[in-house]
């Protein structure tokens, strides 16, 4: 009886595929490079218990116990007082812009009240936009403060019963007081979905022409590179906007995500973000030699976008080098803009620091695309 298939034919095909793969250098590099690069990147970057989040302090009492409490917070590793001591106004606006995740306030006469046993307050304001970023730190804060006070002032507070709480730690979760994850995730998804679809669609724009042979005809006709680029990009900006509409409506109806700021500011930033992405996609399609390569390059960009932009994991909780990579990704800035506008009610001035990086990115990839576009077939 005849076999349904022949092993030798399978072997022949496998050998052929392997030879082709080996000749296709980029694909080969990607197959090996993606797992290595991304495992090392994300193995270190993923951090569900983020430490060293930037913190600003407002200190109105400079006694030894105040200092001990700040030192205790710093030693706990959850807080990084790199932002230093600030005035109230400065600290609040840093929190609004996302430059710090916490503001710690030690009020006047803190130490005197403590010694008298009046249970003075310490105020800790946290940016709870991303609930995961702050929950562990806030959970352990009472213990940190109690220990710091006990160590520093154990003798003077002899009447204090062991384990008792000499200080009243007041927590304010700002921007997302109930810690609803969807408030953080849904605006983030807006950026993620736009990144995914717009880049992929435009990345195939030219490679498809090359693969189908239509590029020869296109080049023989009087269309200029810039015209082809714009002509191929603009429809996808339109596409992106349809997606924006769907996501914003869903955010409102299904998840009741608030819209604190101005829709105009949000949409303006969104145009820029989509433009940056489709231009990147087009640039990929000038670099890739086949649709397969274009897809691989898209995913190579897509994974760090999701993992290092602050969408999956709190941005400030990542190690410094991961944050540097993250800053170069449009999604990082777009997420800050979307969260800033939707949850914090930010205006144009608040989002501006994240708008210009998008512009720089856009111009850079656009320039590469124009330089890379081949005017001839050789």
């Amino acid at each position: 009886m005849n076999c349904l298939f022949s092993w030798s034919r399978i072997g022949a095909v496998m050998a052929k595929e392997f030879i082709q793969m080996r000749r296709d250098r980029l694909t080969f590099a990607m197959i090996i490079g993606i797992p290595i690069v991304q495992l090392t990147l994300f193995g270190y970057a993923i951090n569900t218990d983020p430490k060293q989040l930037p913190t600003a302090a407002i200190v109105a009492d400079h006694g030894p116990i105040s200092r001990a409490i700040l030192a205790g917070l710093e030693i706990s590793d959850y807080f990084d007082f790199g932002a230093g001591t600030r005035t109230e106004a400065e600290a609040r606006s840093m929190l609004a812009r996302g430059e710090v995740s916490y503001v710690v306030t030690i009020p006047v006469n803190f130490e005197r009240k403590l010694v008298r046993g009046e249970k003075p307050q310490i105020l800790i304001e946290a940016d709870a936009t991303d609930p995961a970023a702050t929950s562990n730190a806030l959970g352990s804060i009472n213990e940190i403060v109690r220990r710091a006070v006990a160590n520093e002032a154990g003798g003077t507070l002899a009447e204090l019963e062991p384990g008792g709480m000499p200080v009243d730690v007041v927590l304010h979760r700002l921007y997302n007081p109930e810690g609803i994850t969807a408030y953080n995730i849904v605006p983030g998804l807006l950026g993620v979905i736009l990144t995914m679809t717009t880049i992929l669609m435009t990345a195939l724009a030219l490679t498809r022409e090359v693969e189908r042979g239509t590029i020869e005809n296109l080049m023989a006709m009087p269309a200029r590179p810039f015209e082809i680029m714009v002509g191929k990009i603009v429809p996808y900006i339109g596409f992106g906007f349809v997606q924006v509409g769907i996501i914003l409506i869903a955010a409102n109806i299904l998840f009741s995500v608030p819209m604190e700021g101005s829709l105009t500011v949000l949409l303006t930033a969104t145009v820029l973000f989509i433009a940056a992405n489709v231009t990147l996609g087009y640039t990929i399609s000038t670099l890739a030699r086949s649709q397969m390569q274009a897809m691989q390059m898209t995913f190579f960009f897509f994974l760090p976008s999701i993992l290092l932009s602050g969408f999956m994991f709190p941005f400030r909780g990542m190690p410094g080098w991961a944050q540097v990579i993250g800053e170069a990704i449009p999604l990082t800035h777009f997420l800050r803009i979307v969260r800033g506008v939707m949850l914090k009610g930010g205006g144009f001035a608040d989002v501006a620091p994240n708008v210009w990086p998008l512009m720089v990115f856009w111009l850079a990839v656009g320039t590469i695309a124009m330089l890379r576009y081949r005017r001839t077939l050789d």
């Binding site: 189908r212 042979g213 239509t214 020869e216 005809n217 006709m221 009087p222 269309a223 077939l377 050789d378």
Partner: protein, 315 residues
């Protein structure tokens, strides 16, 4: 024919890696002419045509097309040239009409609908205008491609094997169309592997291994080859063919049905040898005109010899 030069190239050379694919090619095409571009597979026809319309950069040589420099003014050349690629390269996922619309837009033809409609009518594509180009048969695809590249009323048509895989009737219509267009002042450079099509050209250029080795009218090319043909009719064709191949002065022997075309360079020797060979076989022999195909086959084999012997000497 006004004699105005439309294509004028000199010393055109193209290398891919260390392989010289087009080697020092000179070519002129005058207004209103149909010039046939012939040569074996891989001889550099497509590459030459691509350089003329600016799709490839020549490694050496220069020239003009419609008075524009082929190296620096390809943008202008593209506006006035219609290039039909060897492989169908319109969008298979668009309809005929959508493809033509796209072309009309690229050339900024106004009013667009009128240009598209008249092109569709002229080439008999109106009934099929809403059919996806990818679902057309080979012949209809060629017609569509021709329609698309003549729509903007170019001065020069570069056709790269426009009738490959097209049925004889469609081919005839295709050539009638081309002749009609040239009578209106169009100039055509067309590559083909069909002898009957070569015979429909005003002039032919024969390229092998990137070098032009014959050119002129069909009669001139045949005469220049110096070949003479004797047609042998009747007898045992296969046995005679085997015998003929061993004779002195016989270059080629090719059966055509019951006929045998015997080709050689020296008419006297050829006549003598052939007559001797058929004696007593019941076959008759008569001198006949040498066909273009015989000339081309002779050109192909001799250029191959030159090529291999040149290579042998070099190594």
């Amino acid at each position: 024919m006004s004699g105005e030069i439309i294509v004028d190239i000199k010393g055109l050379t193209k290398r891919f890696g260390d392989k010289t694919v087009v080697d020092n090619v000179d070519l002129t095409v005058n207004r209103g002419e149909i010039v046939g571009f012939l040569g074996p597979n891989g001889s550099g026809k497509t590459t030459t045509i691509r350089m003329i319309c600016g799709l490839l950069r020549p490694d050496a040589g220069n020239g003009t097309c419609l008075g524009y420099d082929i190296r620096t003014e390809s943008e202008k050349i593209k506006l006035e040239v219609g290039y039909m690629t060897q492989r169908f390269s319109f969008y298979e996922d668009l309809t005929i009409r959508e493809n033509l619309d796209f072309v009309a837009r690229l050339y900024a033809l106004k009013p667009r609908a009128k240009f598209v409609d008249s092109t569709l009518n002229r080439l008999g594509l109106s009934n099929r205008q809403h059919q996806l180009a990818g679902t057309l048969s080979g012949g209809w695809k060629q017609r569509m491609a021709l329609a698309a590249c003549v729509m903007h009323e170019p001065q020069l048509l570069l056709l790269d094997e426009p009738t490959a895989g097209v049925d004889p009737k469609a081919r005839r219509e295709f050539w009638d169309e081309i002749h009609e267009l040239t009578s209106e002042g169009l100039t055509v450079l067309v590559s083909t592997h069909y002898m009957d099509e070569a015979e429909r050209c005003h002039r032919i250029v024969y390229i092998a291994y990137g070098k032009i080795i014959a050119r002129g009218t069909v009669a001139e090319v045949i005469a220049a080859s110096g070949l003479h043909t004797i047609v042998v009719r009747g007898g045992d064709t296969a046995a005679l063919a085997r015998k003929m191949k061993t004779l002195d002065g016989v270059e080629q022997v090719a059966p055509f049905g019951n006929d045998l075309h015997v080709v050689g360079l020296d008419p006297v020797l050829l006549e003598k040898e052939v007559r001797g060979a058929i004696a007593g076989s019941g076959a008759t022999a008569a001198e006949d005109a040498t066909s273009l195909e015989d000339v081309f086959i002779r050109l192909m084999t001799s250029s191959e010899d030159n090529f291999t012997s040149a290579g042998g000497r070099a190594s």
